[in-house]
């Protein structure tokens, strides 16, 4: 089923647009062009942050961090290798992407660690960035319990990413 999901989405949106007499191809082109712009805007930060992550890995700091946090991570069944990704995910989206890419490249995209990293990236958000954008725009200074609740959601995400990968693959 899942194998057909993406091609089906591609077909269904095109068919829907044609049914409404809309120019599907032009909309796809326009979106693809915007995608290129998005990519150009994240490319510089990916270069900088992959440099930082590669330095951290080469210096042995990532391993030491993993070992330090190993007791806590193992208790929840989260692979300690993902420590850097987990810590940086709520703060910076590009840094998390860099850390995730580095994990997948080091351990293999289809390894349990590579898959866990992918699910973590795919099911969590840059929490602090999102909170600051929304509350900043709305002029809210008392965030009350938003940060603990949002961080709890992140934790559930990291925990469930590890659990589902262990159980499903």
């Amino acid at each position: 089923m899942i194998d057909y999901l993406i091609p089906l989405i591609l077909f269904v949106v095109c068919a829907l647009a044609l049914g409404k007499r809309q120019n599907a191809y032009a909309a796809l082109l326009e979106g693809a062009e915007n995608g290129l712009r998005t990519l150009a805007s994240i490319l510089p930060s990916l270069i900088l942050l992959l440099t930082a992550v590669a330095m951290l890995r080469a210096s042995g700091a990532v391993e030491i961090l993993s070992q330090l946090l190993c007791p806590v991570f193992s208790f929840f069944g989260i692979p300690p290798e993902t420590a850097l990704l987990v810590l940086i995910r709520p703060i910076s989206g590009s840094a998390a992407l860099a850390a995730g890419a580095e994990l997948m490249a080091t351990y293999g995209v289809n390894s349990p660690i590579g898959r866990t990293a992918a699910v973590m990236l795919g099911s969590t958000e840059t929490t602090f960035y999102t909170i600051s954008v929304y509350f900043g725009a709305a002029g809210i200074s008392k965030t009350r319990y938003t940060i603990p609740a949002a961080l709890f959601a992140d934790f559930v995400g990291f925990f469930m990413a590890s659990l589902t990968i262990r159980l499903l693959y």
Partner: protein, 191 residues
């Protein structure tokens, strides 16, 4: 400004640890390789990101967001009872959540911000506004296209095989996040 501190801290930590572990040689190599892999990764991800961005644009154009919003109405009424009394606000709110679900981040943020602005009364966040933010930070996405692009760029032949795991994880984290917000809202009466 935050990123300056983070970047400097990461470089400093690498320097200190490479000195402690005696990995100086590897460190300078890593600087150039890391930068290079940033470009390689971006180029390798370009195709998938652009294609999916095109699909997202088409989804928005055919009004898929509105259709989905109608399906989600019952859930949203339960989560945001006071907000949904204002039809304009309810529209922004459901459009924000649905655009997030379809992965249209660029479309989701402006609508979410306009909803948040109208939900804000005074400097303290209301319970429903907190819930909206928690939902936005939890990321419920049908197709995490960026991650799929990243996996493809690293040579994965089946980048979408993680989808069931992503769906289960997203549902649990969003559901428990909102539940946590609900419980905390009961406890956090005065502020």
């Amino acid at each position: 400004m935050v990123m300056s501190w983070i970047f400097t801290a990461l470089v400093l930590v690498s320097l200190v640890f490479s000195w402690l572990t005696g990995q100086g040689e590897a460190l300078s190599g890593a600087v150039m390789q890391g930068a290079q892999s940033g470009v390689e990764l971006s180029i390798a991800m370009a195709g998938a990101i652009c294609l999916w961005s095109g699909v997202g644009n088409l989804m928005a154009q055919v009004g898929l967001t509105d259709r989905l919003a109608r399906c989600l109405q019952p859930v949203l009424h339960r989560l945001f009872p006071t907000t949904c009394r204002d039809p304009l606000l309810a529209g922004d709110l459901s459009a924000n959540i649905c655009a997030n679900f379809l992965g249209l981040g660029n479309a989701a943020t402006p609508m979410g911000i306009s909803a948040a602005k109208r939900m804000a009364h005074g400097p303290a966040a209301s319970d429903e506004l907190c819930r909206l933010i928690v939902l936005n930070t939890a990321s419920i996405q049908l197709i995490p296209a960026n991650v799929a692009a990243l996996r493809t760029s690293l040579g994965c032949a089946t980048p979408f095989d993680i989808l069931p795991a992503v769906w289960i994880t997203s549902l649990c984290s969003a559901g428990l996040g909102v539940a946590a917000a609900w419980v905390l809202g009961k406890l956090w009466r005065h502020d």
